[in-house]
Symmetry: C2
Subunit: 306 residues, 2 copies
């Protein structure tokens, strides 16, 4: 496994970021932001979730967002599909890719989806089947891969089991999530080493959270093993990483900075990326938690004081 | 080079942290804090700098601090010695170890010490000589090892040159600093690989800053190469990591958390460590920037709201 020359960053901010922000962003602003994101060179964006507005009012405008997405030959737009109703709504839109999700641990799956892991498969199977039937790729999020807030440690065998089942049902790519931000780089390498005995490496994306400051260490650990697909959210959008219920998503700008400084290609233009971060920071009306944005905000403040 | 089972964390908060805090902490509070730090299991503390109070009023009480340090058979107390005058003051105290400092880059050395690198050696030589003559160990900080705010890239050959010279004059340990927090893990491994062709690995400590979120990634990269000595500052003390002139020190509690979660021994009792962090947070009167402290502060806020 050689050190990657290129990395594919998958931007989840418009969905995973905005759903954790209190402020409701108007649809036009979301579209304007997505346009800026596309201009950065990002080529995969998860733009919304077809979840019931009662649960996530921030994403109540899914159909409108998808309808107005800027067309670009190389950009894939994805949306999260939580259930049958979401599937029906999504099928009526031109969204390119569906994402399904479940947990590697029973405790989290139960609280998050209100089903056992076994009961969850059939719901996901339907989404995968109908998505595939319409020519769409399917992404499968596996949560709590590196630890569960209810069950504690999660056995790799459990991650393997869920991952194999998802691939069997037709999922094209797995995104393995450190949902509560507890993974450490040593564990990342141990888990990925075991996992790749059963699951093809190229099917695996990694979704780290920076809750305890280890996200970039975990990215590095995965890079060393040759992994090349990482999820992140611009500016660390999704609220303060320490607030209750907030995600602490790894920030795209911090990830991009590390990769750029190491000479790893991402296809992203950093100056455009920071403009897109400025835009959404202004829209949510509070400073974003990424290191890059905090440095940027600080430098601006110093300039203003001159 | 095998993965370390144990790591030696050297706490620099009382010096490197407090000198970057606006608030002046009374001597008794410093001593009370240092007592708590010793109770955590930390066995090396840099407690002050014998710098002129005009430059760093926060550390004007060096003599008083050293005079009242809690005696402990296994704890080493160190102080920074910037010049001849500082040396004279320090020699009159029972401080165990002296630290000297210079930069690997001319630009930073010039601005920081107002001397060229060549001119700096003779100043340091005097401190080393007199320190050694009194049976003290000497630590040598090398700044800007991974990048300079004035000169940009810093050649490894320059780091080798400065490091060799310091060891030749009798320095016992080098602490290599990522002064402006620009190092990435790939660079850390490349620099350390080159450096250890000339410098014995066991003489090298690493001093990372978390300005761009890469400190723990850099620690991991160094651990993989078998490095076992790391400097850090409890709670990330030393101000907001983004404020002008502040250090963005790697936080001891974040470092300890990562090591603990990976099963690496540090000899530190985490519960005591967090109590010591609470104490200094209260003393400086603002929330500390480490991830561990932010989680802790957030949890407390949520409990209070119940």
């Amino acid at each position: 496994m050689s050190f990657p020359k290129e990395v594919f960053i998958k931007e989840v901010g418009p969905r995973d970021g905005l759903q954790n922000e209190k402020k409701l962003i108007p649809t036009e602003q979301k579209i304007a932001w997505i346009e800026k994101l596309v201009q950065t060179g990002l080529r995969y964006l998860e733009v919304t979730s077809f979840v019931h507005p009662k649960w996530i009012p921030q994403l109540a405008d899914s159909e409108q967002v998808v309808k107005h997405l800027p067309s670009h030959p190389d950009v894939t737009y994805a949306a999260l599909i939580p259930n049958r109703k979401g599937l029906e709504r999504a099928l009526d839109t031109p969204i390119h890719e569906f994402s399904v999700f479940m947990s590697a641990s029973e405790g989290h799956n139960k609280r998050n989806i209100n089903k056992t892991i076994d009961e969850t498969y059939s719901v996901l199977e339907e989404v995968v089947k109908e998505g595939k039937a319409t020519g769409r790729n399917i992404r499968g999020y596996v949560s709590t891969v590196f630890g569960c807030p209810y069950d504690g440690d999660v056995a790799v065998s459990q991650v393997v089991k869920v991952s194999e089942r998802l691939l069997e049902m037709g999922v094209d790519e797995l995104s393995l999530g450190d949902t509560i931000g507890v993974a450490n780089p040593r564990q990342v390498q141990q888990v990925l080493y075991e996992l790749t005995k059963y699951i093809p490496q190229e099917k695996i994306a990694l979704h780290f959270h920076n809750t305890r400051g280890m996200a970039l260490a975990n990215v590095w650990a995965a890079l060393e093993m040759g992994f090349t697909i990482f999820d992140s959210s611009l500016g660390g959008l999704g609220g303060c990483p320490y607030a209750k219920g907030a995600s602490g998503n790894l920030a795209t700008d911090d990830l991009n900075h590390m990769l750029e400084s190491m000479g790893v290609e991402t296809g992203i233009q950093t100056s455009q990326l920071m403009k897109a971060a400025d835009f959404i920071q202004e829209a949510v009306g509070k400073s974003l938690p990424s290191h890059q944005m905090q440095i940027r905000n600080q430098m601006r403040k110093e300039e203003d004081n001159r």
